[in-house]
């Protein structure tokens, strides 16, 4: 028998730590041979904490939303194999189907293996792919296999991975170390990057899109998949040093990755002369310091060099001049996690999945107003409807679907009428949104689209590195206009002003942060123009999110005069006699909503 507890950051936040301890102590008290181990996130975050029990006859029972009270039942099952034990917590057939029908390549091991135990990974053909490369393939053949697979970068742009690898492989060595004229001290190098033919593999684990956590789940749940992907890339381009740039908000991912690297070194999968060849490679971790723009590859490199993370003009591309001016290949975590599978199963097997121009699978972080929030991996070519209403289980609380936001602050929204759009780089781009890195935020009728646009502009405005005037000041001007509209001071002509500014920012910005910053505004203008008009012309927010546009009134027929609201209102805006209908004085009302929360009779109307 074996127990595993899902302990990604999400599981821990849902209380998996306590469950784990209770199970461990319980098993010890029973005195049975049943190790309790940690696994990463299986993706069904809405069911967390999740406990799997693998019985002697190979049968697995999955218990979900496990509370401390449920632990006794699970222990009883462990002790007696009695099926009725803890049955109330057993996963429902529908939820199980949601997990099992996904096609998992990048997440193949997440939630199944113990990320802190390399043997688990090796047992599932781990490190077989890099061994195959080193022993039986030339670097060119590896790149050719990647070309066959059609894998596109999962960091957002979908750029063909093989192409970048090939460019880095063929890049001329850069003979001179960086000559930074105004900073004398930065010419002091530690020497390692002076080697003439030095090349770097960099893994982008900055995952800045607020509302996405695919990369965190991979690192926390299956770090070796990413490490092996980096090894294969290193072999292909001829690099001996890798760096993983992880965002600072992911402390658990950093701890797991450190352990994984240590174990890989001990087992001889990282270090010198791997598999008896002259191929050597090792990886180190660099923790980010909190800047969204550092996800952009040239900014990431600047940050690695200890500078402010500001993008620079391309070309030269990192494949030509990257970290310390040396050829560097940057890929996303999910991109790397796909690579070992491709090498083991062949590029053609990967290319057989998906659509004409988007191959393989894509991981999405389903969040927002969705019933089954979590991670899903689906083949390209499924529709948004498949994801939202299939695995996603539809909208929370039975509300109506309004839109999904794809690609975070660089992306756009796809409205309900386009819900049958297929997941494919080209098809999504045609809607004005992008595939992005995999954030899929679901919105229902209670989400105000103008407020969403304001939210994203607020984000990009804060995260602009400040290099380009259009991005730095233009986004601020757009934000001011949107704040005005949400605040009830929208003016005629604002929509035109926003569209005009959007075009200018797109053209006048150096990096994709600025170039794509207007997308959330442009797509909401395209699909939800009526909401802008409601805000500006009629001073109404139909989703009831923009507080300054709301009016709170008491419905006299429903009010019983219980005075609860009077006591709830901190601003003395409500008056009336006991047992008689009350009144809200509009001048004093701050629209805080305290009265609505207090009223037991649904007597307060918000319009």
């Amino acid at each position: 028998m074996k127990i595993s507890v899902g302990r990604g950051s999400c599981g821990n936040a849902a209380g998996a730590g306590e469950i784990f301890e209770l199970l461990e102590n319980g098993v010890a008290a029973l005195g049975v041979d049943c190790p309790v181990s940690v696994v990463g996130c299986i993706g069904a975050c809405y069911l967390e904490p999740i406990v799997n029990v693998l019985s002697r006859n190979g049968e697995t029972r999955t218990f979900v939303k496990v509370t401390p009270d449920a632990v006794a039942g699970i222990l009883q099952y462990v002790a007696s194999s009695q099926q009725s034990a803890a049955a109330a917590f057993e996963i429902s057939p529908k939820d199980l189907e949601n997990i099992e029908t996904q096609q998992r390549i990048a997440l193949r091991n997440c939630g199944i293996i113990d990320p802190e135990n390399i043997d688990d990974y090796v047992a599932r053909e781990g490190y077989a792919a890099i061994e195959k490369c080193v022993k039986t393939m030339t670097p060119e053949q590896v790149i050719e296999e990647m070309k066959l697979s059609g894998l596109g970068g999962r960091g957002g742009a979908g750029f063909p991975t093989w192409f970048k690898w090939n460019a880095a492989r063929q890049a001329e060595p850069a003979p001179f170390p960086r000559s930074d004229s105004c900073e004398q001290t930065s010419a002091r190098h530690d020497g390692s990057h002076k080697a003439l033919n030095k090349k770097y593999i960099i893994c982008n684990a900055d995952e800045g899109d607020p509302g996405a956590f695919m990369d965190r789940a991979v690192i926390e749940g299956d770090p070796h998949a990413m490490i092996e992907g980096m090894l294969i890339a290193a072999y292909a381009i001829g690099s001996d040093e890798g760096i993983v740039y992880v965002r600072a908000e992911y402390p658990l991912a950093i701890v797991r990755l450190e352990k994984a690297l240590e174990q890989a070194r001990t087992m001889g999968f990282l270090g010198n002369n791997l598999f008896g060849s002259d191929f050597s490679f090792d990886i180190r971790i660099k923790a980010g310091a909190g800047a969204f723009v550092c996800g952009e590859e040239t900014a990431l490199i600047a940050s690695l060099e200890g500078e402010r993370g500001m993008p620079r003009l391309k070309p030269p591309f990192p494949a030509q001049k990257g970290y310390w001016q040396k050829p560097s290949n940057i890929n996303n975590v999910e991109t790397f996690a796909n690579v070992p599978w491709i090498i083991r199963n062949g590029g053609e097997a990967f290319a057989a999945i998906g659509t004409e121009n988007s191959k393989g699978t894509k991981v999405f972080a389903l969040t927002g107003k969705i019933a089954n929030g979590g991670l899903v991996e689906v083949p390209m070519g499924q529709t948004i409807r498949d994801v939202v209403y299939g695995v996603g289980g539809g909208i929370k609380d039975g509300k109506n679907f309004k839109a999904v936001q794809l690609g975070g602050p660089s992306g756009g929204c796809i409205p309900a009428e386009l819900i049958d759009t297929v997941i494919d780089y080209k098809a999504l781009a045609e809607t004005g949104a992008i595939m992005g890195s995999g954030g899929m935020v679901v919105m229902d009728e209670s989400t105000c689209m103008v407020d969403m646009a304001r939210f994203f502009l607020d984000f990009t405005c804060k995260e602009s590195c400040g290099k380009c005037t259009h991005c730095r000041i233009g986004t601020r001007r757009m934000l001011e206009i949107l704040e005005r509209i949400c605040g009830g001071d929208g003016r005629e002509g604002d929509i035109e002003l926003l569209s005009d500014l959007a075009e200018q920012i797109k053209e006048g910005s150096l990096c994709a942060l600025g170039q794509t910053a207007p997308n959330p505004v442009l797509t909401t203008l395209r699909y939800f123009r009526n909401e802008y008009e409601d805000h500006i012309l009629r001073k109404k927010c139909t989703a009831r999110q923009c507080k300054p546009l709301l009016t709170y009134t008491i419905i006299p027929e429903k009010c019983v005069g219980c005075t609860l609201c009077v006591r709830a209102c901190a601003f003395g805006a409500i008056s009336g006699e006991v047992r008689k209908p009350h009144m809200i004085e509009q001048e004093k009302c701050t629209k805080c909503g305290a009265c609505v929360a207090a009223c037991k009779f649904d007597a307060i109307e918000v319009v």
Partner: protein, 169 residues
């Protein structure tokens, strides 16, 4: 041109024991590109980055004060003011925004009587807004120390804060 203003400054704040940072400086002072790593270690040690300490780092690793300050001000992780004993990172990412993180911020502000970045009267708390903790499926979420709290409501937020305050007293 190089500027030497950093050389004339001495550590005046006697509260700062710079020797704590010595091992880090010895390890990284000559490794180029380590400024961010040094600052991260310093912040771990001292809780924040006082101006005097930045001057000291600048002098020790031979990077101009303006550049050190430039890096510190660029990254949101770095703080130049002290924080309360428990740093609350309140997520304002997309998923949390859609699920009502603004209300959670109100609850924190009302409960602790502080604005973002300030220290509560008892010195126990500071809160900062951050963009995404990677627990979006449990939105709205916040992180205190290395513990993450999900599916927050105004009520549960206040309960978390109160239980921490109680433990501390």
């Amino acid at each position: 041109m190089s500027c030497d203003c950093g050389n004339n400054l001495k550590i005046s704040d006697s509260d700062i024991d710079v020797s704590l940072l010595e091992p880090t400086l010895v390890k990284y002072a000559d490794v180029s590109g380590s400024l961010i790593t040094i600052l991260q270690k310093a912040q771990d040690l001292y809780g924040y980055l006082p101006a005097d300490l930045l001057m000291y780092i600048s002098r020790r690793i031979g990077v101009k004060p303006a550049k050190v300050m430039g890096v510190v001000s660029f990254y949101t992780q770095f703080r130049t003011k002290p924080a309360g004993k428990n740093l609350i990172l309140l997520c304002q990412g997309t998923a949390c925004h859609v699920n009502g993180s603004a209300d959670i911020e109100d609850a924190i502000r009302e409960c602790l009587k502080i604005e973002e970045g300030e220290i509560s009267d008892d010195g126990l708390f500071t809160y900062n807004n951050v963009a995404c903790l990677g627990c979006c499926s449990l939105a709205p979420a916040m992180m205190i120390g290395d513990k993450t709290y999900g599916n927050l409501t105004k009520k549960s937020t206040v309960e978390v804060l109160e239980s921490i305050a109680k433990e501390e007293s």
